[in-house]
């Protein structure tokens, strides 16, 4: 059977976000601008992946930098590094680390969806020949990335993969580590594809010490209406998801 991640949970739990509960209300996030870069990485990233998940073949990461002009906590930008994987048969992106441009957003995302988010300076700028993203943590750049030479494509050609976060969550009266599925919807208004270019990615700052980016795959910049829905599924991080998945509710909408 396929390989599994080898992340040793005890070493990770000390830094995990803690969800207040699993009754998170959904957020509507209209007119979001999403820059996504996909790049292959070494198979050694298995050590960053929970044992419940299979690695993608080949291993790859996606860097997401999103501008949310409207949200319940006001406008903010969010940058994420995700290690792409399979939860059973389903493609998923395991969030290694995230940075939000406001403390309010970082706090809410951590407590509601288990995003391992801290506040930082996040920028997303558009030039005629590129879309550029930067993250500064305490004034130090930890990400410089760009989509180079954007060309229009159909939003229908873009497939965004749902995320899973690793967080302490209260279930059955006990707070313990769970993988939390975060599965937004997207309605595309505009999509472009270009060449991914990453001039700086500080692996340590992104929860991936020693990470080396290898083969670039593709990069997209899209404008779409999206959301952060109610939590529907959580998974035991140490057990294959076919055995360790718990359904929290049927509907992703507000009840």
């Amino acid at each position: 059977m396929p390989l599994f991640g080898t992340l040793e949970l005890p070493t990770a739990t000390a830094h995990l976000p803690t969800l207040r509960n699993l009754d998170t209300e959904p957020w509507s996030l209209p007119k979001a601008e999403i820059l996504q870069l996909a790049l292959e990485v070494s198979r050694s990233t298995l050590a960053l992946l929970p044992k419940a998940l299979h690695p993608a073949i080949p291993s790859y990461v996606t860097i997401w930098v999103t501008r949310y002009p409207e949200s319940p906590v006001g406008p903010f930008l969010l940058a994420q590094l995700r290690l792409m994987a399979r939860a059973g048969a389903h493609p998923r992106g395991f969030v290694l680390r995230a940075y939000a441009s406001t403390p309010e957003a970082a706090s809410a995302l951590t407590q509601r969806w288990g995003l391992p988010a801290a506040a930082a300076t996040v920028t997303l700028k558009r030039r005629h020949d590129r879309v550029m993203a930067q993250v500064l943590q305490a004034g130090v750049p930890v990400l410089d990335a760009a989509l180079v030479d954007p060309q229009p494509i159909s939003g229908g050609d873009v497939q965004y993969i749902h995320s899973v976060t690793l967080a302490q969550a209260p279930i059955d009266g006990k707070t313990a580590p769970w993988l939390v599925q975060v599965d937004p919807r997207y309605t595309f208004h505009k999509a472009e594809r270009g060449r991914p270019e990453v001039s700086r990615l500080d692996g340590e700052a992104w929860g991936a010490p020693g990470l080396t980016l290898q083969n670039p795959i593709a990069c997209t910049a899209c404008t779409c209406d999206t959301d952060l829905p109610r939590i529907r599924f959580v998974m035991d991080p140490d057990v294959p998801v076919v055995r360790g998945t718990r359904k929290i509710r049927d509907s992703r909408e507000a009840e």
Binding site: M1, P2, L3, A38, E40, H54, A56, I57, P58, Y60, R86, G88, A89, H90, P91, I153, S154, G156, D157, V158, Q159, I161, A191, R193, N215, I217, A218, T220, V242
Partner: protein, 363 residues
Amino acid sequence: MKFGLFYEISVPRPWTRETERTVYNNALEQVKLADELGFDQVWAVEHHFLEEYSHCPAPELFLTACAMVTKKIRVGHGIVVCVPEFNHPIKIAERTATLDILSGGRLEVGTGRSATWTELGGFRSDPDITKKSWDEFVRCLPKMWTQETYSYQGEFWSMPERCIIPKVYQKPHPPMWVAVTSPGTELDAADRGLGSLGLTFGQFAEQEKRIAEYRRRIQLCDPVGDFVNDQVSTVNFLYCNEDDEKARATGRRMADTFNYLASQLISAREAYPSRSYPSLGLLPQLRRQATGPDANEQAGEGLGLGGPERVIRAMKKWEAVGVDRVNFLLNTLEIIPQEDVLASLRLFAKEVMPAFRDSKGGN
């Protein structure tokens, strides 16, 4: 109705030097038996880097071995990847002609373009142009096989005038096919007078619609070869046992394992948004069949899993929707013991094949 075998060469971890060899040897033993039992064809895929799912990067070698241990069964490239970084067209023409000679004119040539980033990225191929390069390659191949000398200047490759040798054994040349997974590719096959080598499982209604459109469209084709191959082939799973319940349970385990492995692959579109891959192709369908709402369909009437009567009913339905050939996957990750696989083939030949001997095209 004709029946054949279809090989991905699925190898379970851990990969010792003996596990790969055992899987290949088992496959060869199955092909030898299938030839004796009257199966019509054996197909082998070309896949690269698809861990556990398919360890078959050089199907022409496996098929040559098949040809050497058999007498009648036809050998099919299912498919050869028509993308420049994978295969140079001259090498395709030379290799296939050699195999056609060695097999005594038993070669069938399936063509395609790969559908995973795992493979396309591995060869640093541009997913945007694979359909175009495939189109160019399939138009060149018949001429390379048949013309005394050949020269070419195209978008993806070129060559000065040379005599490409050897020439194919079959006259005018081997039948050509296209791998069909994404909806619409069957129309590409029809427009070029190529056989439709379906690689999807189940779903009678959808297949019937697509086959009908293929049949309609191929009437007006502009064939790339010297003749029109208007046959429709599809793949299926086979595990036939007198104990219907046991056969279905065992077969279901094989099908689920296959689908689960397939769902681990990165489809081209998942990683690289491109108009060249407008649909997700086979992988999401297999993903649904592995875990989603279609999971029960695997145990349905369309699959060759069960006792002989059940398998006959399934094959009759495929025949009724217009399928000419069904090619079977016999195992995945060797989860079914080899003796049971061989017994399944024998039972199929004894109990199921006779029910199709009087059909059009006869078995």
